[in-house]
């Protein structure tokens, strides 16, 4: 027993080293969202196309809310994934055009294709604050009751879709049944 005591510092060192080692591989940009399991913030705004919209215009089923901007290069990287999801009817996608200019946003959608049912025009970034956004791209998974269930920061490519979103969607579907 007395001899075991000599190993306490070693154990403490190993524990601390393990903790710090793990810390090296954590992404500091992955901040927890405060809106998980909270309803979508209420809004009454216009789309990039100029139609007025509010919460009632959101899809009645589970959907993705993607924060994008024409200035945002990573958004271009994840764009093919959203095009595929919307073309194949896998899940509806709603856009939030964040801190952009209306005409630039319209041009971007014309040039690259429009995967969104509609894009909420948030030129001032005020709606982004209510969502707790800190920069495009970010993607939220919203359930059929309009409650935010998951948030992904930065690019949502096919591998993120497979590894993070599909399991999350699966789980939500299982819960609601």
């Amino acid at each position: 027993m007395q001899r075991l005591k000599f190993f306490i510092p070693l154990l403490a060192f190993v524990a601390l080293a393990g903790l710090l080692w793990r810390g090296l591989y954590l992404d500091p940009a992955e901040l927890p969202s405060m809106l998980i399991d909270k309803p979508m913030p209420t809004f009454a705004m216009t789309t990039v196309e100029g139609e007025t919209i509010d919460n009632d215009d959101l899809p009645d089923e589970m959907f993705l809310l993607n924060v994008w901007g024409s200035y945002c290069l990573p958004c271009l990287v994840e764009h093919p994934t959203f095009m595929r999801l919307s073309e194949e009817g896998e899940i509806p996608v709603v856009g939030v055009n964040y801190r952009d200019r209306k005409n630039l946003a319209q041009d971007w959608l014309l040039d690259n294709g429009d995967p969104f049912q509609f894009s909420i025009l948030d030129e001032s970034g005020r709606f982004g604050i209510d969502l707790g956004v800190y920069g495009a791209p970010e993607t939220y998974l919203v359930d059929k009751d309009g409650v935010i269930r998951y948030r992904h920061v930065s690019v949502l490519d096919e591998s993120v879709w497979q590894e993070e979103f599909l399991p999350a969607i699966e789980q939500l579907r299982a819960e609601s049944n």
Binding site: L31, G125, I129, V133, G135
Partner: protein
């Protein structure tokens, strides 16, 4: 001509470059220049509160900068919101609650005292106490060794002499 001559020494040139570079870093990193937008206030008290809040709220995008020192888009928006809320007569507590509901504890450089932040606040104190206890027990043991083990009774003395003689 003399100046030119001086500049041709590699060491002098390097030192000069470093000086110019660090001056640039100092000037362009200062919080005063980070913030480019201007706000108007009715009273100096409001202005002081704005200064204080934007110094103590963290920019969510550029993580080690406060709102006042950041040129990031979301920091600009949040400064505008802080200004709006101050002008609407909201208290600091209400403004902090607004930020907390959207960005969580991360937004505060001084996180609130909550169950989730207890370890953050008191962790260092716990480690200090553990360290203190270890240091105390070591010093106590050292003292007790000093007091008890230094004297030999007569039989031990005899044995000691015997060993010493055997050696020589």
């Amino acid at each position: 001509m003399k100046n030119l001559l001086l500049m041709s020494y590699p060491l002098v040139r390097t030192v000069m470059l470093v000086l110019v570079f660090s001056a640039g870093v100092l000037i362009f990193n200062s919080p005063a220049l980070g913030q480019v937008d201007t706000f108007e206030f009715d009273t100096t008290e409001q202005q002081e509160r704005f200064r204080q809040l934007s110094n103590e709220l963290r920019c969510p995008m550029c993580q080690n900068t406060n709102l006042s020192g950041s040129t990031g888009g979301v920091a600009e928006d949040l400064r505008r919101e802080v200004h709006r809320m101050i002008m609407e007569g909201m208290t600091n507590a209400e403004i902090e609650q607004f930020m907390f509901e959207r960005y969580g504890d991360f937004i505060f450089y001084r996180p609130r005292l909550r169950a989730e932040t207890l370890l953050l606040w008191f962790g260092p104190l716990i480690f200090l106490i553990i360290g203190g206890l270890v240091a105390y027990s070591i010093s106590r043991r050292a003292k007790s060794v000093d007091e008890t083990d230094s004297h030999l009774d007569s039989s031990q003395q005899e044995r000691l002499q015997e060993l010493l003689h055997k050696r020589s």
